[in-house]
Subunit: 159 residues, 2 copies
DNA sequence: TGTATATAGTTTATATATGAACAATTTAAC
DNA sequence: GTTAAATTGTTCATATATAAACTATATACA
């Protein structure tokens, strides 16, 4: 269905660039809403799962990542990570361990409970991703990523 | 730059479908951050501008839209609209007018101040959209929208 | 060595988002 | 025509996001 129909707009878009941009925006919103429902059933949020995915795939089994590294890998503000890790620590999914080499730094590590939860969630999430991106071949996906990469470059170009 | 580089990840993605999905997600995040900075300089937020854009383009000059209509056109919860319109009303950008035909309904209309602000912001926003989507021809944009539309259809398909 | 600067994390104020429960009102069903 | 169901908007609890101001620490450099 076209975006105009999905949003029940009375009038369409006069500029196709704008329509394309809103298509990206509302597709992300839809993907996020779908993921929200999925993770809620597991007692998680999409953002919390993302933290666990980074801890699992981007650090050694017992290494963990600092809050600054998480902030960088998630493209969010440091302040955001503080409250996010507060909630995850309260839920028993991760712990903060102080870094002996740099006393400013907290290393975030998954607990046994967190690991168990992640191992249960990940294959189900992979299926959801498969269903979401169903019907495209590798070349179409590469083309899509190239377009999106170019848009991200446009954003970062000085006006 | 590839997403792996932008997020400073140590390891890449093993599933291209997942990589493509994260590309959509982080492109939206980048676009939103860019727009946030732009609107902040005008004393607005991206969401507040979107409300004004809907009021301007989707309703007659003095008709306005109900909160339920705004909720539908923005794909957000009704509760969200309540607080959003509270803030916009407080800022003098819009007013709530009760609907004589249905006493449950509030009609949201732009004030003179809101209209003035919107007319100043819209051409600047159009330029930003042009820069963001620069370097694609109409056929590439249509192809992109078709891909995104298919993803939205995949999401809404029953598992 | 000392000082200036940078970095890590927290706190606060603010904006956006959801779902659930609620009141007021309208519409549908019988 | 009255009752049941649906719709509109609000309030509350909660999760995520930012920027700015702050403390504590580490690094650079002169």
């Amino acid at each position: 269905m076209s975006l105009k129909e999905e949003l029940k707009l009375k009038k369409g878009f006069s500029i196709v660039e704008h329509e394309a941009l809103l298509n990206i925006y509302f597709t992300t919103a839809g993907v996020k809403k779908r993921a929200d429902g999925f993770f809620k059933a597991l007692g998680l949020t999409d953002v919390q799962f993302n933290v666990m995915m980074l801890l699992h795939h981007q650090s050694g089994p017992d290494e963990g990542l600092s809050q600054a590294q998480l902030s960088e890998m998630m493209l969010v503000n440091r302040a955001n990570i503080t409250t996010l890790i507060d909630r995850m620590e309260k839920a028993g999914l991760v712990v903060r361990v102080s870094d002996s080499a740099d006393r400013r730094t907290n290393i975030v590590k998954m607990t046994a409970k967190g690991k168990k939860m992640f191992e249960k969630a990940e294959p189900l999430y992979a299926k959801l991703v498969g269903r979401t991106m169903f019907g495209f071949n590798q070349s179409e996906l590469k083309k899509l990523m190239a377009v999106l990469e170019k848009i991200r470059e446009n954003i970062n170009k000085p006006a």
